[in-house]
Amino acid sequence: MIRYIAKRLGISFLILVLGSFLMFVLTINSGDPLAEYRESNSPNRENLIKQRIAHMGLNDPWYERYWNWLTGVFRGDLGQDIKGQGVNDLVVQAAGSTLRLVVIATVLAIVIGVILGVLTAIRQYSGFDYAVTFMAFVFFSLPVFWAAVLLKHYAAIEFNNWIVEARFTPIQIVVVAVVLAFILVAALGGPWKQRLISFGIAAVVFAGALFYFSAVQWFRRPMLGVPLYAVVVLAAAVIVLMLTSGPQNKRVRNAIALTALLSIVGYAVMRGPLMANPTTLMLFLCFLGGIAAAVVSGLALGGFSRKQAIIASCLVAVVASGVALADLMLSNWNSYLTQNPRPIPTIGSATPNFSSDYWGHFIDAATHLVLPTVVLTLISIASYTRYTRASMLDVLNQDYIRTARSKGVSERKVITRHAFRNSLIPLATIVAFDFAGLIGGAVITETVFGWQGMGNMFKVGLAAVDPPPVMAFYLVTGTAAVVMNLLADIAYAFLDPRIAR
């Protein structure tokens, strides 16, 4: 395997260089870098043109320009842009914001998309299936920036107006509760009587919760606190247990329970310090601690199903860390609101001249991420849902699934153990492909939301026929694509032994 990876990396490297050559030649031939001066009436026009020719090496032959750029890259110097600014600095500033955006959107899209895909495949031809399919098609057909402009104009501004009071009218409560309950029941399925009962209960619970949230203005000062945190983590643990091994496997069950307990105790201890004066390192260490606890409890209690116990416990730990982070952010939401009364911004990746504590900046970055992430996620959810559904249906129609059912394996096990894993195989390719596509989508999203990210750097660079920024963008996205493709191929071989080399 290691030899294979090394070989692949070597080939990928050559492809990357070949691609850079292609990009470079295309970029320098895509227009005239002197266009802006040719049209200007400035008295020192000739001088400016001469300067730029010297600066960009326009009189050198193309292969020499490419060679200069390439050797520069191997020395770790990405060159200077048309204005003489170092591209290295530009990339460092830009890459962070773009990758943050794309990674969050990808993860969200995969999680939500796969869940929806599996659910629609299980409930094929139900109302839920049709509704999700229709929505997936709509999202898939949305032009990115059209949706972005609409979201900016309607969702953000409306939300900002609403959050001032953060109250629902009774009609809103009823409508939202009914709709939510309807979606839940549609996803759950079952006989009609059972559905009616669960619909009634769900609607009442949702309405009660909304009434409570509205009455205490929860959306202005939201908070879970340790008790609610415990409830959420335990619920997540139960779900993970049901999805992985099932409640019969005592070893996995105990490992998961221990992980959940350790997470709750750990969070109860750490919440104070994390609220008061957190650092990124501290947050990261807490996350690592959670994972370590999961691995240890898996090893200690897993017995012969050690591997499964570790995987399941790690899942619980990841969810628990996520919920903890959410709680910490929620707890600081109110102080952020007082500083920034219109919390969802429509432009930029951070509020200019914003001074606050760690959580203030954290939430500020998060609120700036909301709209672009929603746009990117919505658009890629659609393809994940569709592909998961298709491949899940494909697998569910296979003979070995029928065999499993006929020998009495429970439906849950058929779906999670027999069908789900195999249905992920085609998805491995999609993820790699979609990631590259998302970076392309990020170019648009950044333009609409005015982010100073990689996409913007690329756009400005290309418009000015300025190779270094364009090539830097290519290098970052190309490397990301190579790595993602390699991971996809490894996953492919891992998931489908028939094609393992």
Binding site: G31, Y130, S141
Partner: protein
């Protein structure tokens, strides 16, 4: 529209109620259909796909007949180039009741051009791009993916590395650079988009073929001495047809969206010619004052792309050889 998939197979009641042994033998067994007939029947029964097909044909006819194409004149009396005296703020004059389309059904843009003619022109250009890209990219992607997946070895290595070369350059980026070179020429733009969009399909088809070539029926064909190209065309590709067809439609709708994106970034179609993408990006700031300038072309992109996707879904179900129907 909420019925994008086939209903479960339903047995058609036979009108013939006479009972005799011969009839019984003939009628209880289903009539036999060729593969093409089966596909056609299944597709025609796919409600969402049929509705989409009707809408799509309507839009295509509307776009082509209204303002004509090239030298052929259309029935709409205004062009997308001339400006007309402004009526009011240039609001859409189309009315549902009493039904009338008025002087400028989709309103006028900021300079007084007839927006209906502009949008129709945009639809035409987007259509041209979409279908060119869809057909070209599908053929290229399928051929490369199938050959790579079936022959493996050095052929696969070469073809897939070539695919990787195109994949590592994000589609939009390569398209933007090439689009800038194409300088707003529609046909060039379509070729450019085709050149950058076959990669995903090639990888998918290869993946599918890798899995299919290990199946028993391929082994059987091999054992009979069937030549490779024939195995690919007759045995493997029909089983991968679902993937190919779904992706062909995805490619078409993706091409529309990519064109839109390129025009938005300023590397696609350029004025005075127009496309739906250019219209939307030109009027993105008009949302507060003249919302129709932003909504109408956007809705056309959405509806168009949606129809294509539904048709693709219908085709997928129709082509699925495992789906039993009548």
């Amino acid at each position: 529209m909420t019925d994008p998939n086939n209903q479960m197979p339903s047995v058609e009641p036979e009108t013939d109620t006479r009972f005799s042994i011969e009839d019984d033998v003939e009628t209880t067994n289903t009539r036999s259909f060729s593969q093409g007939q089966l596909v056609r029947r299944r597709f025609l029964r796919h409600k969402a796909a049929m509705v989409s097909l009707v809408i799509l044909i309507f839009i295509v006819l509307l776009a082509i007949t209204s303002i004509g194409y090239g030298p052929i004149p259309g029935w709409w009396d205004k062009t997308f180039i001339d400006t007309y005296p402004k009526l009011g703020n240039g609001e859409p004059t189309v009315k549902l009741w009493p039904p009338s389309i008025g002087e400028h059904p989709f309103g006028q843009d900021t300079t007084g051009k007839d927006y209906f003619a502009l949008v129709m022109r945009g639809v035409q250009q987007s259509l041209l791009i979409a279908f060119t890209v869809g057909i070209l990219a599908t053929v290229v992607g399928t051929a490369i993916g199938a050959i790579a997946g079936f022959y493996r070895g050095i052929t696969e290595a070469f073809l897939m590395r070539m695919t990787d070369l195109f994949i590592i350059i994000p589609t939009l980026v390569l398209a933007a650079v090439l689009g800038r070179m194409a300088g707003g020429n529609i046909v060039m733009l379509a070729l450019v988009l085709a050149l950058v969009s076959w990669t995903g399909l090639a990888r998918l088809v290869r993946g599918e073929v890798l899995s299919l070539r290990e199946r028993e029926f391929v082994m059987a064909a091999r054992a009979l001495g069937t030549p490779g190209p024939r195995i690919i065309v007759r045995h493997i590709l029909p089983n991968a047809l679902g993937t190919i067809v779904v992706n062909a439609t995805l490619l078409i709708s993706a091409a529309i969206l990519t064109e839109t994106a390129l025009s938005f970034l300023g590397f696609g179609v350029r004025a005075p010619d127009t496309s739906l993408g250019l219209l939307v990006s030109t009027y993105q700031t008009a949302l507060t004052g003249r919302p129709w300038l932003f909504w109408i072309p956007g809705m056309f992109i959405l509806v168009f792309s949606l129809c294509i996707n539904f048709i693709g879904d219908g085709l997928r179900d129709a082509f699925d050889p495992r789906q039993q129907m009548d």
